[in-house]
């Protein structure tokens, strides 16, 4: 479809994005003015000039850069691992016939239905047994695979990879891993990129498990941000300045990954 969409499409999208972006904008607006605007009946819509002083206070109060680095390492490792293992497993479930594949797949999906809040106690026991408590492994290893990822890649690859292409490759003498690498991986790219982005963001915002498994001397960014709430008075402007700063790496990631989605279409269709 090379026709440009009409005004209605743009209008709806802009309305949707403005509506969903407003609360984020609000969380930037508050630190740029101060806590006063929280009680205003009609708050200002343009930013004030206080953001940088609040941001500087954030950097002075908590180990921001150390925590940021930790979060990048943790979320990056988790995202990479989930994408790799989910694409592998998703490909197998979607395209390969093997005994028990249906049962195993249902099992994978079912694991998502168990609430995880109680799991932190036995999981902590396990991490302590391995000697990982307080170290980044404790936060990375439990998240190396994701049922959600496997489920998604399987659904996506079921249609995105034509079976004929696999057969053609096999009959040409390709081993399965080469089929995977040359047929499945390129097809999976848009979904894999999104999965990586989602996993990264989810890991980035995780608080409860890092609270238990790590500590303030080796924190992830959410753990460090919690320290901004020390004491009986919560300085919302300071806290929101901190959370806004913490979202900057994610926005950078957006730019990098967003192009992958676009690139997906550019690549054109599969010639049957």
């Amino acid at each position: 479809m090379s026709r440009r969409p009409g005004f209605l499409v743009y209008g709806l999208l802009v309305a949707f994005i403005l509506g969903s972006a407003f609360p984020i904008y609000w969380s930037f607006l508050v630190p740029s003015h101060g806590n006063d605007i929280l009680t205003d009946k009609v708050p200002p819509l343009l930013p004030g000039g206080n953001f940088f002083s609040n941001a500087r206070q954030v950097l002075d109060t908590i180990p921001f850069w150390h925590a940021l680095l930790n979060s990048v390492i943790v979320s990056g490792s988790v995202a990479l691992s989930v994408v790799v293992f989910s694409t592998l497993a998703g490909f197998a479930f979607a395209k390969l016939q093997f005994r028990g594949s249906n049962l195993l797949f249902v099992f994978v999906v079912l694991t998502m239905a168990v609430p995880t809040q109680l799991g932190i106690i036995p999981l902590y026991m396990a991490m302590a047994d391995f000697g990982w408590a307080g170290h980044l492994q404790a936060v990375i290893v439990p998240n190396l695979v994701s049922a959600f990822g496997v489920f998604w890649m399987r659904q996506y690859l079921a249609d995105a990879v034509p079976s004929e292409l696999i057969e053609a490759a096999r009959s040409d003498g390709c081993s399965m891993i080469r089929v995977f690498w040359h047929v499945a991986v390129p097809a999976a790219r848009p979904a894999a990129a999104m999965l990586g982005l989602f996993t990264f963001m989810q890991s980035w915002n995780d608080f409860l498990w890092p609270l238990i498994a790590l500590d303030q001397n080796n924190p992830t960014i959410q753990l460090a941000l919690e320290q901004l709430q020390a004491g009986y008075y919560v300085n919302y402007a300071l806290v929101l300045a901190g959370t806004t700063l913490a979202t900057i790496p994610i926005f950078l990631l957006f730019v990098a990954v967003g192009r992958q989605l676009v690139a997906g279409i550019m690549q054109g269709a599969v010639k049957g």
């Binding site: 969380s27 497993a89 093997f98 609430p115 109680l118 982005l197 690549q267 599969v270």
Partner: protein
């Protein structure tokens, strides 16, 4: 999808050694799937299975947090649960919030994906724009929405006052609190689901749409007859994950409470979901056994709902 170019054949690879490539290929075919799915199950066995079994085991005891021994109850926790008014209250709240969030969410996500699938200018900007809510850290979400839905000073009530509708007690009123929480959930997750659907939409070969256009089919007809059916696996995925996630909603009601850090789900439990009740039982009431029973009953409810939704979606997206 990339136009795949098969690797140039290297003579050695296909030199027919008697019997060997055949057996190797068959072994490769047989074993590879298990090797590919193994990493998931290996990691899960270590970090997922143990907590699962532990929770199941603990649910049979009257286990208090921190105790070394506990009284064996058998099904005691489960029977207590089934006659527990707070549990049924939580289940009702959960279903209500789930319906208020998941149903509009899936519909809007598909609609937004369809809009994003067009030949927009600034495509990347729009696509990433819908994901912006997911960027917010949970602390920020709690502060922002606490501020928006504040009963006395919140922006929403100020707006309602201005327009003449009058203030709503978002905390006290059961339905209002559900709407507010569903709004939080939808705000956070709709763009996320839209991008999932979008990725699948882009895998649909454009020739099909072009052929239909040539045949004279309008955009709506093309959408319902071509796009939706081809999206079926993804829509099933979105419905099932929304069901599973929606019935486990925990963070949003916890953040919404006016009493900071409270797990009660409001003054009369008006927005306590089952997971929140589970959390309260485990960490506030310190009744780990009882909480584990809640977890497993919830699991059952989710499985039933997910299976049900799966069959419904399969029929609808025929």
């Amino acid at each position: 999808m990339t136009l795949t170019r098969l690797p140039a054949r290297r003579p050695e690879a296909t030199a027919p050694v008697a019997g060997r490539p055949d057996r190797w290929a068959r072994l490769d075919l047989k074993v590879s799937p298990y090797v590919y799915v193994a990493p998931f199950f290996v990691v899960f066995a270590v970090v997922g299975l143990f907590p699962l079994l532990y929770t199941g085991y603990v649910s049979l005891f009257d286990w208090r947090l921190g105790d070394d021994t506990a009284k064996f109850l058998g099904a005691g926790n489960y029977t207590e649960l089934l006659t527990d008014p707070q549990f049924w209250n939580a289940l009702l709240n959960t279903i209500s919030i789930f319906l208020l969030s998941s149903v509009p969410q899936v519909i809007v996500a598909v609609a937004v994906a369809a809009l994003l699938n067009t030949n927009l200018r600034l495509r990347t900007g729009f696509r990433m724009g819908v994901l912006v809510p997911y960027v917010a850290s949970l602390v920020a979400v709690g502060i922002i929405f606490g501020n928006l839905f504040g009963v006395n000073y919140g922006l929403v009530n100020s707006l309602l006052d201005l327009v003449g509708i009058g203030r709503i007690d978002w905390q006290a009123n059961r339905l209002a609190s559900h709407i507010a929480i569903a709004t939080m959930v939808n705000w956070r997750w709709t763009g996320y689901n839209a991008l999932i659907v979008l990725a699948a939409m882009q895998a649909i070969p454009p020739e099909m749409n072009e052929a239909a256009m040539i045949d004279g089919a309008g955009p709506w007809r093309r959408f319902t007859s071509i796009t939706l059916p081809m999206l079926r696996p993804t829509i099933i995925f979105v419905v099932i994950t929304s069901t599973i996630g929606g019935l486990q909603i925990f963070t949003e009601p916890k953040l919404f409470s006016a009493m900071p850090g409270s797990d009660t789900g409001g003054s009369t439990g008006q927005f306590q979901t089952v997971t929140l009740y589970l959390y309260q039982s485990a960490f506030d009431n310190q009744r780990l056994g009882f909480a584990s029973a809640i977890a497993w009953v919830l699991f059952l409810v989710i499985v039933i709902a997910a299976v049900g939704n799966y069959f419904i979606t399969r029929r609808l997206a025929r």
